[in-house]
């Protein structure tokens, strides 16, 4: 729609006026019919009703003002009729929807699947660790962390593995190079368990302590289906006055029910860890067969899941060197620990531990 100007009006008799106004009415009608959208309607409005350059302004300025006095009324009547028409056409153009042609051009198939960015999957180890820590968070345990490279003191000695003690044989250790000349307790190694964080926490705060410690640990083990030099643990430590073995039992029984379902039962067996006494292994009733016996639990109905015990007084004695409140005659506590890979393998039916560290998109994608 171009801004065509209107012709000059040479005669003001009725037939000349009719002809001139009819032409404009037709032009307005044609313009309006060609409108497709709201942008077009706005252009139509500007073209016809614009204050400065609109056609009606021009009609008014040239035809109405230029008419001899005796013709003013005849022009005025026709001008009003034209203006009404234009306003009506504009109103119709603005209120009506787009034309069929316009609709056809913009058609979408709303039945096609929605577009979306596929989300990634949290690692099953992270997920399992988070599940465990949140169970203990609900029991009042804060998360504790510590370094992966530890000293012999924190990894072994203060956990009651004396230098040269056979218990050290059970945890094959990866060591940092060039430590031979240093005093044994300062030698650097990759922590074999998350237990050093227990001592670091006790050294930094007096009792009560309730922490849950998720973390990566390393051992000098050859890789096979269920062993890996890299794995993860979650440990917990609770120290206060009057913490008892029955508290340990109740806490873990509750935690296992929270993790695996309220019908899960626990049972405790005497075991040995240098840093706890009494020490226990904990079994839960098989989560696959409910305790009847199946392939997963080797027909026993039970699955061994964690180690625990009352904190050994020797461990408290080390803590008391920096925090005298850890007097084993006044306070007591329990600690527990579990292997995250083992739990994740059981929960998700994974048979090769190496799958966790391969970064295979297809494996990880299953956990999205």
């Amino acid at each position: 729609m171009t801004n065509e100007t209107i012709p000059d009006l040479l005669e003001f008799n009725d037939s000349a006026l009719d002809k001139a106004f009819t032409a404009l009415e037709k032009r307005a009608g044609d313009d309006a019919a060609a409108l497709r959208d709201s942008d077009g309607a706005e252009a139509f409005r500007l073209n016809w009703l614009g204050r400065k350059q609109g056609i009606l302004t021009e009609v008014s300025g040239r035809w109405l003002k230029g008419a001899p006095p005796e013709s003013k009324k005849a022009v005025g009547e026709r001008f009003k009729k034209l203006k009404d028409l234009v306003e009506r056409l504009l109103e119709e153009a603005s209120s009506a929807g787009p034309s069929d042609a316009a609709l056809a051009a913009e058609a979408i198939d709303i039945t096609l699947p929605g577009s979306r960015r596929l989300t990634g999957a949290e690692h099953p180890i992270t997920r399992t660790m988070n599940e465990i820590t949140s169970v203990f968070a609900a029991l009042g345990y804060s998360v504790g962390v510590g370094p992966e490279v530890e000293t012999d003191f924190y990894n072994f000695e203060c956990m009651n593995f004396p230098p040269g003690h056979p218990a050290r044989d059970t945890q094959d250790t990866l060591v940092i190079a060039n430590q031979e000349r240093r005093p044994l307790r300062d030698r650097l190694l990759l922590r074999t368990h998350t237990s050093p964080v227990q001592m670091r926490t006790m050294e930094s705060q007096p009792p009560p302590v309730r922490i849950v410690i998720p973390g990566k640990v390393h051992r000098n083990d050859a890789q096979d289906a269920t062993h890996s030099p890299i794995f993860h643990q979650v440990e917990g430590l609770c120290v206060d006055t009057n913490i008892t073995f029955s508290d340990l039992k109740g806490t873990l029984d509750h935690a296992m029910k929270a993790l695996f379902g309220s019908s899960v039962k626990t049972r405790f067996f005497p075991s040995f860890f240098p840093f706890t006494e009494p020490s226990a292994d904990v079994q839960i009733s098989c989560i696959f067969c409910g305790g009847k016996g199946c392939r997963k639990c080797k027909q026993s109905g039970w699955i061994e899941l964690l180690g625990c015990g009352m904190v050994d007084p020797a461990v408290f004695a080390f803590a008391a060197e920096k925090q005298p409140a850890y007097d084993p005659k006044k306070i007591s506590g329990f600690a527990f620990g579990m292997g995250v890979e083992r739990i994740a393998m059981m929960k998700y039916g994974i048979s090769e531990i190496g799958q966790f560290y391969a970064g295979d998109m297809r494996f990880l994608g299953q956990f999205a």
Partner: protein, 600 residues
């Protein structure tokens, strides 16, 4: 360790329960039976045992029978040690303990006129061939079988020497510098002055408590035998065994503490089996004991145990009466302890300990025994009263936000090796030269602590390509290491890598390839969430076989520059993940790592 119920029952003829029940009852007391195999009519069962390292006393048949006797309140048959009368000796066999710090007891018995050959069953309680056949112990000769029998029966290592090869007598001493000994495994060893050895007046005869010597070994020609049964100090044996890279049944036992009183018993068992093939004893048992060791083992100080401590540590039982003073007395007495009561008001005892339980040293050890024999599952499940509020780690929210953001952006979370090769480390270390090697790496490829997550994540990318997975988006949030072998610094780092097509599902538009600027956007998003200023950001524009590293420190525009186009880079990654068809036109992969200072 394998145990025969037939053998166990020979010590407990009145055992009232089935093998299955016995296994369960033992397991509930911490003497874990991992597997039970029926050996057929009249042969009982074979138990596969897993005994914890502190219970070295229970790593044999008599030890387990002793534990079973306490469970059912049975009388345990004593081991049969009666020997025929000994003939006179012109003079007692000479034994001298020179290393008194490391050898507490040494017994020697002389047998003359013995015949070395197949062991003959020695009824009633040493059915060598029956037991060995069932338990899977090879029969070798009566001399070897006799010491193996004593070991399996009651866990005391013994050794038999060819008496005629011993010159003078026995001296237990430290080795002299440069002394040599050929041990029973046929290896010629140079001894260390710290090694504890059994010697005669001329030469070393064996590594004490570890392994005997070749030259005094019993052969088919042997007629006169010296039977040794001794008690050695744990650390001395452990050091000797370690120095020579040996771990034997004997060293295992001595390292964990043998029973001081067991030596003469084991010596008698060995002698009885040997004498079944003829021969006779000469002289009495020579038994040299070091009083200071005797008082630190057999006659060690009693331990004080208070009932209040038992309750303070163990808590509530299901049974209303709980653990009473009478229960404590009964439980500990059944284990061979002798209790002397202090006072009736606040029950407490002086507890004298059995010689075979060197693991019992402190009050807490006795409390554990009370709990163990009482039964762990008879304690109630209680919850401690709620303590203080939960404190969140200061960086936990940032880490969790980064993880959520990258998950939402379509990256899967990976956990890769903590280790990488030295060459991968040198290519990716944000702080050049700060790479920490391991002293005993699992392999050369895992020789150093990772200074960056990039090698791990790129190897994961390459692994996916190798498995024909072309579209990869991975991130890892983990620890990276710098510093030196004197002081290792750890920080949390973030890395992500992408390759192939964007993870968008659309029925309208074709899938678009992941571009550099997608990665840059992800870096920006992650960086915005990290508290503090990241120490370094590295972006690898990596056709997987040819990493190009760009490092931008701190804030400001990312200064992308190739760090290495050297062939070494190519080799470092391609050697580990060779995959076909990806050489000249390798698909582009992008990896970025942020070495963040979230955790301080």
């Amino acid at each position: 360790m394998n145990i025969l119920t037939k053998w166990l029952r020979s010590y407990l003829p009145e055992l009232p329960v089935s093998d299955t029940q016995l296994a369960e009852d033992l397991t509930l007391r911490g003497i874990a039976v991992e597997g039970i195999y029926d050996l057929g009519p009249g042969n009982g069962s074979l138990y596969e045992m897993d005994i914890t390292t502190n219970r070295v006393d229970a790593m044999n048949h008599y030890g387990i029978a002793r534990e079973a006797a306490t469970i059912y309140g049975l009388q345990l048959n004593p081991l049969e040690v009666a020997l025929p009368a000994a003939g006179p000796a012109t003079q007692p066999f000479s034994v001298r303990i020179e290393a008194e710090d490391a050898c507490g007891r040494f017994t020697a018995r002389v047998l003359r006129g013995t015949t070395i050959g197949d062991s003959r069953d020695w009824f009633p309680s040493a059915e060598v061939s029956t037991y060995f056949g069932l338990v899977g112990q090879k029969q070798i000769s009566n001399a070897v079988d006799a010491t193996n029998f004593a070991w399996l029966a009651m866990g005391q290592p013994t050794h038999a020497f060819d008496l005629d090869k011993i010159e003078g007598g026995i001296i237990v001493r430290r080795a002299r510098k440069g002394e040599r000994l050929k041990t029973l495994d046929g290896i010629e060893r140079t001894l260390d002055p710290e090694d504890l050895i059994i010697a005669d007046h001329v030469k070393p005869l064996g590594l004490a408590g570890v392994m005997g010597g070749w030259d005094t070994m019993i052969t088919s020609a042997t007629t006169n035998v010296l039977v040794e049964a001794a008690w050695f100090e744990p650390m001395a044996v452990r050091r000797t065994a370690r120095r020579h890279g040996l771990h034997t049944d004997a060293s295992h036992r001595f390292e964990r503490g043998a029973d001081f009183n067991a030596a003469p018993v084991a010596s008698a068992i060995v002698s009885r089996i040997l004498l079944a093939n003829g021969g006779n004893l000469e002289g009495d048992l020579v038994d040299v004991r070091i009083p200071s060791w005797e008082s630190r083992t057999v006659h060690r100080q009693p331990i004080t145990l208070a009932l209040s401590e038992v309750h303070r540590i163990l808590g509530v039982t299901i049974d209303k009466d709980g653990i009473t003073a009478a229960a404590v007395e009964a439980l500990l007495t059944s284990l061979g302890c002798q209790l002397t009561s202090h006072s009736a008001q606040a029950p407490a005892w002086q507890v004298a300990l059995p010689s075979w339980r060197l693991d019992l040293e402190r009050e807490i050890d006795l409390i554990e025994e009370v709990a163990r024999v009482y039964g762990y599952n008879r304690f109630a499940n209680t919850l401690p009263s709620f303590g203080e509020g939960v404190k969140a780690l200061p960086w936990a929210e940032a880490e969790s936000a980064v993880r959520r953001t990258l998950l939402a952006a379509g990256f899967h979370e990976a956990i890769t090796s903590t280790f990488c090769s030295a060459i991968e480390a040198s290519l990716t270390a944000p702080l050049p030269g700060q790479v920490v090697p391991l002293g005993n790496p699992l392999s050369e490829e895992a020789g150093v602590l990772r200074p960056s997550l990039v090698p791990g994540i790129l190897n994961a990318v390459a692994g996916n390509l190798h498995r024909d997975v072309a579209d990869v988006r991975l991130f890892e949030l983990g620890t990276v290491f710098s510093g030196t072998t004197e002081k290792v610094d750890e920080r949390q780092a973030l890395a992500f890598a992408a390759l192939g097509l964007l993870s968008e599902e659309s029925s309208l538009h074709p899938a678009r390839a992941f571009e550099f600027h997608d990665l840059k956007g992800a870096v920006a998003a992650a960086r915005a969430l990290l508290s503090g200023t990241p120490a370094a950001i590295a972006i690898c524009l990596a056709p997987v076989l040819l990493p190009i590293l760009a490092i931008a420190s701190g804030v400001g525009p990312m200064n992308v520059r190739p760090l290495s186009l050297h062939a070494a880079a190519n080799a470092a990654f391609s050697a580990r993940n060779p995959y076909p068809g990806c050489t000249a036109s390798a698909p582009e992969a992008f990896a970025a790592s942020i070495s963040a200072s979230m955790r301080r």
